[in-house]
């Protein structure tokens, strides 16, 4: 019975568990943070970020192809597709608002960081929504880490980002979000492989 529950879990979350898909844009976030941090003065050559963006799209396409050709395709239920669309639209709008709020003055905490943390948490809740199994706990752990880091200025640690070599909190949060995305992506991929092994072994 448990094996069939695992099959249902796998089928429902097949695309979410294909974690390598997150690598290109998480790496882009990390490299963008590194690039912004390395810039001095007003004149900035945008050539490198544009190349990184193009490479991210190409890499995403190739990873997508790898998953489709190696693991097959599953159509998500309509309700899940709506939730994904809604999360993307609302999440994008809130992230933009948080970015504007963060950059329009000195703030007591990083709103972008809080939105990033909530995005990761929402991704995890979507996975465990129907079948409350304790998997991929790295999601809530990293969400908590990002949330705590974002709120550090409230506890008097205004310049926490200098300790890790960044010039601003926003760029540091972007870099940390990139690292979190890479970790989550790799862990999710291994979770997918492990679950596939388990369901096949039991049959």
């Amino acid at each position: 019975m448990e094996n069939y529950k695992q099959i249902q879990f796998l089928t429902l979350n097949y695309s979410s568990l294909q974690g390598l898909r997150t690598l290109p844009f998480s790496t882009l976030a990390l490299l963008t943070a590194w690039w912004v941090n390395s810039q001095t003065g007003p004149a900035r050559d945008l050539g490198l970020p544009i190349i990184m963006l193009i490479l991210s799209f190409i890499l995403y396409y190739l990873i997508n192809l790898y998953y489709n050709r190696t693991f097959g395709r599953v159509q998500q239920p309509q309700s899940y597709r709506w939730v994904d669309l809604l999360t993307s639209v609302v999440g994008g709008a809130v992230a933009l608002a948080a970015f504007i709020w963060d950059t329009s003055g000195k703030r007591p905490f990083s709103a972008v960081g809080v939105v990033f943390a909530l995005t990761i948490l929402a991704g995890w809740l979507r996975i465990i929504w129907k079948d409350r199994r304790p998997v991929l706990l790295i999601f809530p752990i990293l969400a908590a880490v990002i949330a705590i880091i974002s709120l550090l200025p409230l506890f008097g640690l205004d310049t926490w980002y200098t300790a890790i070599g960044f010039q601003s909190a926003l760029v540091a949060v972007l870099g940390i979000f990139g690292v979190a995305g890479i970790i989550i992506g790799i862990v999710s991929h291994f979770q997918l492989l492990q679950m596939l092994r388990t369901v096949r072994r039991v049959q």
């Binding site: 159509q75 998500q76 596939l196």
Partner: protein
């Protein structure tokens, strides 16, 4: 009234087979999935999976649609309305068995 053991013996043989159960369970969760996905979750060889899918198709529980994705042949498989009903009825029957066995045990004593 039948005993739980007679009920077990009467389970739909077309469904009551591990590989076909796995296929039907996956297809009852998602609207449709392709052949490769079913191969990954069942661990069956393409030939074996094809035989199981054909049996389910002959039984009217699934339907297949052959096409091309990225210039490669691709077979999408989905449950038919009869397949949905059959798998739901099967799960209900399976879920009720432990209680039926306890009931039978009490009556026997």
């Amino acid at each position: 009234m039948s005993t739980p053991f007679e009920e077990m013996a009467g389970l739909d043989r077309l469904i009551h087979e591990p590989a076909r159960m796995a296929i039907l369970t996956a297809l009852s969760t998602a609207p449709r999935a392709d052949f490769l996905f079913l191969q990954r979750i069942t661990g069956l060889t393409p030939g074996n999976l094809s035989r199981h899918v054909s049996k389910l198709e002959e039984g009217g529980l699934v339907q297949t649609a052959k096409g091309y994705v990225d210039k490669r042949p691709n077979t999408m498989i989905e449950l038919t309305p009869a397949g949905k009903q059959a798998i739901e009825a099967y799960w209900k029957q399976i879920a009720s068995l432990p209680e039926r066995i306890r009931e039978w045990d009490r009556n026997e004593k």
